[in-house]
């Protein structure tokens, strides 16, 4: 039996560079990066990108079909909505609020969920029982009812929306994290960390968390998608971001009534949501693989 090792990658390459390089190695990942960069650009500077004002109404041009259809007008590529506002401009403006709200909501639920899941899985016993009951309680309670109640009390501001949506997501995060912690915490390297005198915080932060990070990243990418849809639902119920501020979910719920006259009003923002969600999921997968040192040699 030889004690030979497997050859490794060039040691001069830094860890971060290596992760980035392997993440974007495949073409779907590259395409996803393009989609997300585009969405991010729209979110940062919509006025620079949009062809015209997203709030300008012109009732003489209401419900125009897209430019390539017979009644379409060349300047309005994707037509207009029921108030004559340009759909392209509204999608570009909508990226800002949609992405901001959903990403921040995921951050909120991840922070709470990871902390609760780590504590439950690591300490077990009473801590675990209490956290599990809290999770069950919240999951048993109808989400929409909860949101209606909270928004009715505090008012539908952007901050409140982020907090409420973030709070709605933590139990699922906590369950995923707790489950992963349970599989990792009995491995011998965690005992070894205890044996060398590591504090409980160090065991969690240095030994358990890095080994469950891939599950968290992948779940977070799905969660962003879910939050985009939740925002759409809330906008539909009038509890989300208030008009005239455009959001993709809000556009779908407004446009669905006019789908017979002009299909692009509802479908175009739907395609934007689908593209961004898909991009998040593909990048989540790629990042998980890149973060796993055991897969490094195979790429």
């Amino acid at each position: 039996m030889s004690d030979a090792t497997v050859p490794v990658q060039d040691a001069t390459e830094s860890r971060t560079r290596h992760v980035l390089r392997t993440t974007f190695a495949s073409w779907p990942a590259k395409l996803s990066l393009v989609v997300l960069t585009l969405a991010l650009a729209c979110a940062i500077a919509p006025s620079l990108i949009a062809p015209r004002d997203a709030f300008l109404q012109d009732l003489s041009l209401r419900l125009l079909p897209p430019a390539w259809e017979p009644r379409g007008q060349a300047l309005y590529w994707l037509g207009t909505d029921q108030l004559g506002r340009d759909t392209v401009a509204r999608i570009i403006h909508g990226a800002r609020i949609t992405l901001l709200v959903s990403v921040l909501a995921v951050v909120v639920s991840a922070v709470i969920g990871i902390a609760a899941g780590l504590a439950a899985g690591f300490y077990r016993g009473l801590t675990d029982a209490i956290i599990l009951r809290l999770i069950d309680m919240q999951l048993a309670f109808p989400l929409i009812l909860l949101v209606i109640a909270v928004v009715a009390v505090v008012g539908p501001s952007l901050t409140n929306l982020v907090i409420v949506m973030g709070l709605s997501g933590w139990p699922r995060f906590a369950r995923i994290v707790r489950g992963s912690v349970l599989t990792v915490r009995h491995l011998e390297f965690v005992d070894a960390a205890r044996a060398i005198g590591a504090s409980q915080f160090r065991m969690m932060a240095h030994h358990i968390l890095p080994n469950i990070m891939s599950a968290i990243i992948v779940y977070a990418s799905f969660e962003v998608a879910r939050m985009i849809l939740l925002e759409a639902t809330l906008s539909f119920l009038g509890l989300g971001v208030q008009p005239p501020t455009p959001t993709w979910g809000g556009m779908i719920s407004e446009g669905r009534r006019y789908v017979n006259q002009s299909w692009t009003v509802a479908i175009a923002p739907g395609i934007a949501i689908a593209a961004v969600i898909l991009a998040f999921n593909i990048l989540g997968d790629a990042l998980r693989d890149a973060l796993d040192p055991q897969l490094e040699d195979r790429t």
Partner: protein, 333 residues
């Protein structure tokens, strides 16, 4: 001479889950009243079947688990009930090497970080001296310095076990608990690791508690051997003595089952029948009596005490008592 490590009547009972709102009074007695002493620089071998509690005992002595009864003295100090903060000085003196070289290293941590971490936790040296120490540790266990920045999956099982040993050595301990450190390895690698452990003991004056189910490994490395059955020590003696004159029928059975590389010598066809009894409801009297061919009426009702005979040979048996000059062998070998 006071022993380095002394356990007095330690126990670890795992309570069984009770019914709703009712606490169970039943428990798995994984370790049930074990007393053991280990001197500096000595190797104590601990053998037994799987499920006899030997790994639990190792974890208790490394204080990875808290005993439910008894006292553990390390260098004179009782460490059985101490909390993690108070255990920190003990952590520097006692380390553990695990059985599975694949799960005992953090897959997200480079070898260098793994070796530096103990020094960092205990605030030993500055960054440069810690780096130097990690390089030295790689030398000591026979790895190369290029291995410093690599991840565990890039190594073979034997190399990983060397890394595990290097991590255990980082804090310059007096005692290393080796929990089946070679049972997951190929035979040829086993001997390399055993020789490494031997060398390290001579070089640093280490004491080992060497847990194994492999009697040949134990014979090679141990100074004294303790045999465990169902949570208790049934026999303990210097290695030459126990291999030449085993007194407890269980030890005799274990030794009879070791294959001998001699085609002329016939192996007994059946040595030990049945399985280890359920540790929730251990048999009355001597726990071994249902499987023992020598069992008498007394064995079924009364637990024999662990009695010390000549040459420090301790045995827990009514039939082959420690002082008795005649030893009956249960399997006529």
């Amino acid at each position: 001479m006071t022993p380095l490590l002394e356990a007095i009547e330690i126990a670890r009972h795992f309570p069984l889950a009770g019914k709703l709102f009712r606490r169970s009074t039943r428990a798995v007695k994984a370790v049930d009243g074990v007393s053991i002493a280990l001197h500096a620089g000595e190797t104590l071998g601990l053998v037994g079947e799987s499920g006899c509690g030997k790994s639990t005992l190792g974890r208790l002595l490394a204080r990875l688990d808290e005993p439910t009864g008894g006292t553990i003295r390390f260098e004179g100090q009782d460490i059985a009930g101490l909390d993690e903060a108070a255990l920190k000085p003990f952590r520097r003196r006692t380390q553990i090497v695990f059985q599975n070289p694949y799960s005992s290293l953090n897959p997200r941590q480079t070898i260098g970080d793994t070796l530096i971490e103990p020094l960092l936790i205990h605030g030993i040296g500055d960054a440069a001296s810690r780096l130097q120490r990690a390089h030295d540790l790689l030398d000591i266990v026979g790895l190369r310095r290029e291995h410093f920045g690599r991840y565990p999956h890039q190594f073979s099982g034997g190399q990983r076990q060397r890394i595990g040993i290097a991590r255990a050595l980082a804090l310059e301990p007096a005692l290393i608990i080796c929990d089946e450190p070679v049972s997951a390895l190929d035979v040829s690698i086993q001997s390399q690791i055993l020789n490494l452990l031997d060398d390290l003991q001579k070089r640093f004056g280490l004491a080992y508690l060497f847990i194994s189910h492999d009697l040949r490994v134990i014979e090679h490395i141990a100074d004294r051997v303790a045999v465990m059955y169902l949570g208790r020590i049934v026999e303990e003696a210097p290695v030459a003595d126990i291999y030449a004159r085993p007194r407890h029928p269980y030890t005799q059975a274990l030794l009879a089952a070791v294959p001998v590389p001699d085609p002329a010598r016939r192996q007994p066809e059946v040595v030990l029948e049945g399985n280890v009894p359920n540790p929730i409801d251990p048999p009355s009297g001597c726990h071994f009596h249902p499987r023992c061919p020598l069992a008498e009426a007394r064995c079924r009702s009364e637990m024999p005490p662990l009695v010390t005979g000549a040459g420090g040979h301790k045995v827990r048996c009514w039939v082959n008592q420690a002082e008795d000059p005649v030893v009956r062998n249960a399997w006529q070998i």
